[in-house]
């Protein structure tokens, strides 16, 4: 691949680098507050239209490529990301404040996702063909021959997420799934990590050229505000939208997509507090281990995960008190961690202050402080179930290393609380064998509330696998029928078509 030595801050539209609106924004190192070079271009309205028109032109030829061609394309992207080596990791560290080990892990996840979808494209695993053969003698009329297959929806707009600069960004899961499905992709890069995005987008651009794919199979747009994304989602060529981010952002995209002359699907992953239900026998048997596992999960990535455990629910009593003391103790030993950007950091501080000021909510413990510009001090609060049930604001996510412990009177109140939860990405049960019967009753409720249920684990760490569901009822996502991680995420970019009485010579391969 063509591997330039430095970032040039331009848009990548088809096979070209374009200046757009030059020098529109910079990346900032959240750890130091330092502005990072170079300046980045923003897409002007005509750049958005240009990328969308190219994607539309690319759609028919790209969807007619073989599975093997898409496999080669995706594998080449994975290899190209690896070939960037430390250049990519160091830029991502500077732009996100995330530590090296985390970003190296995320890179491995990203390339694994690309290779999973390369394999899916090769095997056609999720694009089954269904056939009903003709019944020529059926009465009162013959049955025609029917063949059904899945075809791609069309060009997809993918929004990069701030909290996963690689795995949910330019070449993240949605891009991999959409390309495997046969959809051209236009990425709106997240303005928090434009350099990381440019490096990866160049890999995609080079891979498309090397595979001789149509020009518009991939483009990357950028911009500091909402206007680029809004124009992109409103463009008639775009046929689906994938987004990971805030509830306000996701809902705004849903409204835009519905207001189009032709509405389109929006897969927005938005907000969740990922409740953990700690049953009495489990707390009695291993309360300290649960406390320590919980604090690890809460602080991972400075709490900036969609699956961060923002709520722990248990039954009051000495085991619960011991658990909450162990949480406070573990927390006190944890240093502050740098958050992704000043906006997220400010919102986190405001969320913590809001909780601290609420009647009936007490601070259980906190992590260590720091003078760093975007340093997050972890915080855990506690309240009674009755207060939680009566206070809608306590159900909202505080994005970052903040969680709320909720003490219930008994198991019945635990079920009542579960019944009043919003939709979630995950719900976790900490239980011992003796807790099983009580757990069973709770599970009937939680199945209605979440996309993934866990026993004796913690919700952070989303496996890329066939059986994974990273999705859930509103407001966790805008489309409960879908997952954004794992093999089945290809379904979001496909639709069925039936071929009736086609001669073999006209049937698609």
């Amino acid at each position: 691949m063509n591997s330039p030595l430095h970032l040039d801050g331009q848009l990548l539209i088809g096979q070209r680098s374009l200046a757009g609106i030059p020098a529109a924004f910079h990346a900032v190192d959240p750890a130091s507050g330092r502005t990072l070079e170079p300046a980045f271009s923003a897409a002007a309205p005509e750049d958005v239209d240009h990328a969308a028109a190219l994607a539309q032109q690319a759609f028919d030829p790209y969807r007619q490529t073989t599975g093997e061609q898409r496999t080669v394309f995706l594998e080449r992207i994975a290899a190209g990301i690896e070939a960037l080596g430390d250049t990519l990791i160091e830029r991502a560290m500077a732009e996100t404040g995330l530590p090296r080990a985390r970003l190296e892990g995320e890179r491995a996840r990203t390339t694994a996702q690309l290779r999973l979808f390369a394999e899916i494209a090769r095997t056609g695993l999720w694009q089954p063909v269904v056939v009903d053969s003709a019944l020529p003698d059926r009465q009162p009329a013959r049955r025609p021959e029917l063949c059904m297959r899945m075809i791609p929806l069309g060009p997809v707009a993918v929004f990069g997420a701030s909290n996963f600069p690689l795995a949910f960004s330019v070449a993240g899961g949605d891009t991999a799934a959409a390309l495997a499905a046969g959809c051209p992709v236009i990425v709106k890069a997240h303005p928090s990590h434009p350099g990381t995005s440019e490096w990866v987008a160049r890999v995609l651009q080079a891979a498309a050229a090397a595979c001789d794919l149509p020009l518009g199979v991939f483009s990357m747009l950028a911009g500091p505000g909402h206007d680029v994304g809004e124009r992109l989602v409103s463009h008639p060529a775009v046929q689906a939208v994938a987004f990971t981010g805030s509830r306000a952002g996701g809902l705004a995209l849903c409204r835009l997509a519905q207001r189009r002359p032709q509405p389109i699907p929006v897969y927005a992953e938005m907000s969740a507090i990922n409740p953990v239900f700690a049953f009495p026998n489990a707390l009695a048997a291993r309360g300290d281990a649960i406390a320590s596992g919980f604090v690890d999960s809460l602080l991972m990535g400075a709490g900036q995960f969609c699956t961060n455990p923002g709520l722990v629910v248990g039954v009051g009593g000495p085991e619960w008190d011991r658990f909450s003391a162990a949480v406070a103790e573990a927390l006190a030993q944890r240093p502050a961690a740098t958050m992704l950007n000043t906006g997220i950091h400010k919102a986190y501080r405001a969320g913590v202050d809001r909780l601290a000021a609420m009647t009936g909510v007490a601070r259980v413990g906190e992590g260590q402080g720091s003078a760093g510009t975007c340093a997050a001090q972890a915080a855990v609060f506690q309240t009674e179930a009755a207060t939680f049930l009566a206070t809608p604001a306590l159900h909202d996510e505080v994005f970052g290393p903040c969680s709320l412990l909720v003490r219930c009177r008994d198991l019945a109140q635990m079920r009542e609380l579960a019944e009043h939860l919003d939709g979630q990405l995950t719900a976790t049960l900490q239980l011992d064998g003796v807790d099983n019967e009580a757990a069973r009753q709770l599970l009937a409720i939680l199945e209605r509330k979440a996309g993934r249920l866990l026993v004796n684990g913690f919700p952070t760490g989303v496996e890329v696998a066939h059986a994974m569901v990273h999705g859930g009822p509103f407001p966790a996502t805008s489309d409960v029928r879908s997952t954004s991680v794992g093999s089945r995420s290809i379904d979001r970019f496909l639709r069925p078509v039936c071929y009736q009485d086609f001669p073999a010579s006209l049937l698609p391969a």
Copy 2:
């Protein structure tokens, strides 16, 4: 089953018959204009809330029934509908103006659908379980065990369609699929056939009782206006909506569903003109047969099918002229047919008058007239491709036995026309072997435009089968990812859930 001797015009909510707002409306025989007894109740707001609350209560116990229990329930509904015998057929004839043979055929289709979903519930065919086994020794961290299955969405609101009083109504395809999936169903009966709806709803009510299912697994509401449906779609208990009807109606439901605090999926099947592309060699070889097949398809059910062929596209020349003359000749021999109700009849008349008045549009031929109150005289018009392309109003559906022949300059213009079509349920190709190459180029476009593609058939007649797709891009439907006919329609009422590291004792069966 408990088989009463006459209709009582009440709402059926759970296991009760309720008066609601009594005597709110009557059915009318469209052939004679005669009002039919009895008077029917409309649902008051509290009746809607009552049915929705019962459905919500029924959801957990109903979704925990076994596949076999749902199979027995669905088979009992099918048998109950058959046991109604002529009582049902005669009432449906009086309420819809549809002839006996058509309604007997539709009844067979309806019971076949119920039995198809009974079989699906038994085999679990469309609810596959996916497992990723644990990898305890994986580095850097073990992989947990993941199991994924599909679970039902929740209570479903089904809107009866005017044009299929049995197959897309109280116990139609959506009801069968939703019940098989494990979703309670609340039907809003179509006010054009309230008696037919009551007979079928009683069968459902009796089957639910005989199978000892939770009270709210099925309810039927009625009402002459939009308020019942609006309240139903807005009710927090309802988790999905299935609708077949007008574009205005479907879009109104989509807007309502999006405006809820928790938006929900709406599967609205709305409008389509189902283009037929007649290739030159096919017209030369068998133009008369195509003309006669087309007129049969156009007039079936007084043209009141979602798959009615409202557009025929060909290349000008002597074969085309012979084809259009043959259409006129066949049409002239066809008697008028009674439409479903005065509203539909009035809209049809207005649509035909609008076409007749348009510049550049000529009448090719018409069917026989009649003095009947709701009698539709078939009409076929012709225009040039350039006029069609320049006139958005010519792309709109005229619901009824009316179609437009469009003459293209050449095959390139045929493709241009295809590219400018709205989304469709179907697209049909009439071709001979020699036309194959031209057809292939057109198919690449039509795959983007329709849910079902046919060769040398006609679009009316939608098989209930595994490979059927009765759906398509907007505005044909509101959700291109879905079908309303065939096995796969169960997907619209399911969502995936992942179980991580569950002990065998807690995993669902």
